[in-house]
């Protein structure tokens, strides 16, 4: 029985429209805050749009987006496989530090060798960070959310510790590591950047991010491994009954998710940061990754778009103070967007309730028809 869908049904079923509506509502709430603070909404949002739509601005957006996309993929992958990778922050940090160590100590190596080495080191570090948590879970049953929160901080202090080691620490007065070798940098050539008028940190990391997106999609949707991991995520008892080794799947999922977050750290370092500072608090890339994964509906291509969107908000937001608006407005907007995405499930619940009502109505109709038949007899 096919029926032409009404507008309301179309809206209630389409996830993409929920996200768009949430984004609109987020900006609406942001506008209300601006108005309450007595600031011009048009001026602030105008600034936001104009700062990301020029070629130079957009190149900044893309550069900002690279780590968000890859960490977003890491979290999205974990969502798909039934673990909540709140530990992406720590994996990002160790990945970034591993790439820095290789990028500083391996300065003598040629570019085609050093860059892949940095990527590998970061992915290995992130994967190890994920596997430790997975091992604690599968071997001793330690709740992964707890151990991830702990390991986020261990990673944070470990990174600060390594940054303080004389061979790694900056020779100058900066509380940071040395700059990584130019051979480990993913920056585009100066001439190319100048001739196009891109931002000074324009780099080809975005290509890696896109490749990672396609690869994650392929693994999740087209391989046996992806199928097994998803099955464990959906129902681990059913998966076990179906002959899947659940513990191994959890470890694999966390390793892949960790490797992605670690790669995000390397891309951020090699394209944008070029050194790691000694921080006093976490930078929050892991939490940004969670938000990006949520906005992107845990779909790899969705995450790609959401990462660019988030990058645009972060870069555009940093320009808000030029018109006197607080940059924190962006966090309020993003928070509101995520909030509405969270409650958009109400549409699906409505659908469920309505379909139950329909079923009841059908059942009643059949019963009535039966009764009428009885009467005829």
């Amino acid at each position: 029985m096919t029926k032409k869908k009404g507008f309301l049904e179309f809206v209630s079923e389409n996830r993409f429209i929920h996200i768009l509506l949430s984004i609109l509502l987020g900006f609406l709430v942001g506008a209300i805050f601006l108005a309450v603070m007595g600031l011009s909404v048009g001026e602030a949002y105008g600034r936001l749009i104009s700062s990301v739509t020029s070629l130079k601005g957009f190149s900044y957006v893309v550069v900002y987006a690279i780590p968000y996309i890859v960490v977003g993929l890491s979290v999205a992958f974990s969502f798909k496989t039934g673990v909540f990778n709140i530990g992406a922050e720590g994996q990002f940090v160790v990945g970034s530090m591993a790439a820095a160590v290789v990028g500083i100590l391996g300065a003598a190596l040629p570019k085609p060798l050093l860059i892949p080495l940095c990527f590998l080191a970061s992915m290995a570090a992130g994967a190890i960070w994920g596997i430790i948590v997975g091992f604690l879970k599968t071997k001793w049953g330690i709740n992964e959310v707890l151990s991830m929160i702990m390991f986020n901080w261990v990673a944070f202090y470990l990174s600060n510790f390594i940054a303080g080691i004389p061979a790694i620490h900056s020779d100058g007065t900066a509380e940071a590591t040395k700059n990584i070798s130019a051979n480990a940098s993913t920056l585009l050539s100066k001439d190319f950047i100048n001739s196009l008028g891109l931002c000074p940190t324009a780099n080809w990391g975005i290509l890696v991010a896109i490749a990672a997106t396609v690869l994650v999609w392929f693994v999740i949707e087209k391989t046996t491994l992806g199928y097994e991991l998803k099955a464990v995520g959906a129902n681990k008892f059913a998966a076990e009954y179906g002959g899947i080794n659940v513990n191994r799947s959890i470890l694999t999922a966390l390793a892949i998710s960790g490797a992605l977050a670690g790669l995000g750290g390397a891309l951020q370092l090699m394209g944008m940061g070029s050194r790691i500072s000694i921080f006093s608090s976490q930078e929050g890339f892991g939490f940004a990754g969670i938000v990006v994964a949520l906005i992107g509906c845990s779909n790899p291509f969705g995450v790609l778009i959401a990462g660019v969107f988030y990058g645009a908000l972060m870069y555009g937001g940093s320009k808000l103070n030029l018109v006197g608006a607080p940059t924190q407005l962006i966090n309020v907007i993003v928070g509101t967007v995520v909030f509405f995405i969270a409650i958009s499930v109400i549409f699906e619940n409505l659908k469920r309730i309505r379909s139950r009502a329909n079923r009841n109505a059908e059942a009643r109709a059949i019963k009535k028809a039966d009764e009428q038949k009885e009467e005829k007899k």
Binding site: W140, V145, L146, Q328, N331, N349
Partner: protein
């Protein structure tokens, strides 16, 4: 010997001071999680409480009004979380993430507008939560100095231990507590017995926000004197970890918070005297928590219905 007693006093003092905000937040987390609602928005609720507490105390001059208002600010964000997750059936992790962005986002923005800076103006001593036992002990004796060190804490510290006892009593000795725990284990069964699961969970998430708000207010009104964007960095998540550590029981969470507080206290003493790298010492609380879990605590059983939205049968 005198030196040792002195150091011991300082460690105990530091343990208590670090434990206090975590414990408020952990008690809050207990309410929410045990009733069946995952609340990772604790961090955002603490930040809201931390800001509101100092600002109200600054303008009224009364620390207690500030402290309560800090709790109410947390409860407001708790209510937002409750509306989304309990009434509208939203994914609890997503809603919590939203709260973690909204709470700090909104209060830091307000700080910027009110004070033209992301930091608030520091509180004067009279506007801070008072120290109860200042000058009670005779500091000329070794024992007196030890006691003076330990009890140099703020009133909020003593209150939180009373709060643990109250929460324990509510959870295990009252009808409300029994219902609360039942809602987190088997909400459908509760409903058939005539318990309004939606109302119960709504109340618990709001209480959770209130306690988290108090925890945040302790940080800015007792430990420090002003709100800064880095006042609350991760304490909310540590509190959640302490609750999982304590197997979702208030007295377990107390142990978790004390362990964490003790390691942080140790860090303060060790960091000053020994030659060990500060960054490595800072890792101790996190590593010890995991090791203690492996050796002594083991598996933490999550309440059965935790994280699952409850849809009323029609």
């Amino acid at each position: 010997m005198t030196n040792f007693v002195n150091n011991l006093g300082i460690i105990l003092y530091a343990t208590l001071i670090y434990t206090t905000p975590l414990l408020y937040a952990a008690l809050g987390s207990c309410f929410s999680e045990v009733s069946g609602v995952v609340n990772i928005g604790i961090e955002g609720m603490m930040t809201a409480g931390a800001f509101t507490g100092t600002v109200v105390a600054y303008f009224t001059g009364n620390p207690w009004i500030g402290f309560i208002c800090g709790g109410l600010a947390g409860a407001f964000f708790g209510m937002l979380h409750a509306i989304a997750t309990v009434n509208l059936g939203a994914d609890q992790t997503i809603a919590g993430t939203a709260i973690n962005m909204l709470g700090p986002g909104i209060v830091i923005m307000i700080a910027k507008v009110m004070f033209n800076s992301t930091d608030t103006i520091p509180l004067e001593a009279s506007m801070k939560i008072p120290r109860l036992f200042r000058g009670v002990f005779d500091t000329t004796t070794v024992f007196g100095r030890f006691m003076d060190n330990v009890f140099a804490n703020y009133a909020s510290t003593y209150l939180v231990f009373i709060a643990v006892a109250i929460v324990w009593f509510v959870f295990y000795k009252t009808r409300f507590g029994l219902r609360l725990r039942a809602c987190g284990e088997h909400p459908q069964a509760c409903e058939t017995l005539g318990i309004d699961v939606i109302k119960m969970r709504f109340a618990c998430v709001c209480i959770s926000g209130f306690l988290a708000g108090l925890g945040g207010a302790c940080v800015t009104m007792a430990i420090s004197t002003q709100f800064r964007p880095i006042s609350i960095v991760g304490q909310g998540f540590i509190a959640i970890a302490a609750v999982i550590f304590g197997k979702f029981r208030p007295h377990g969470a107390l142990l978790g918070c004390l362990l964490f507080g003790f390691c942080s206290g140790l860090k303060v003493v060790l960091g000053g005297s020994s030659g060990i790298n500060m960054q490595l010492i800072s890792m101790i609380p996190y590593v010890v928590t995991v090791i203690v879990l492996i050796l002594f605590v083991g598996k933490s059983r999550v309440p059965s219905a935790n994280g699952k939205p409850f849809v009323k049968a029609k």
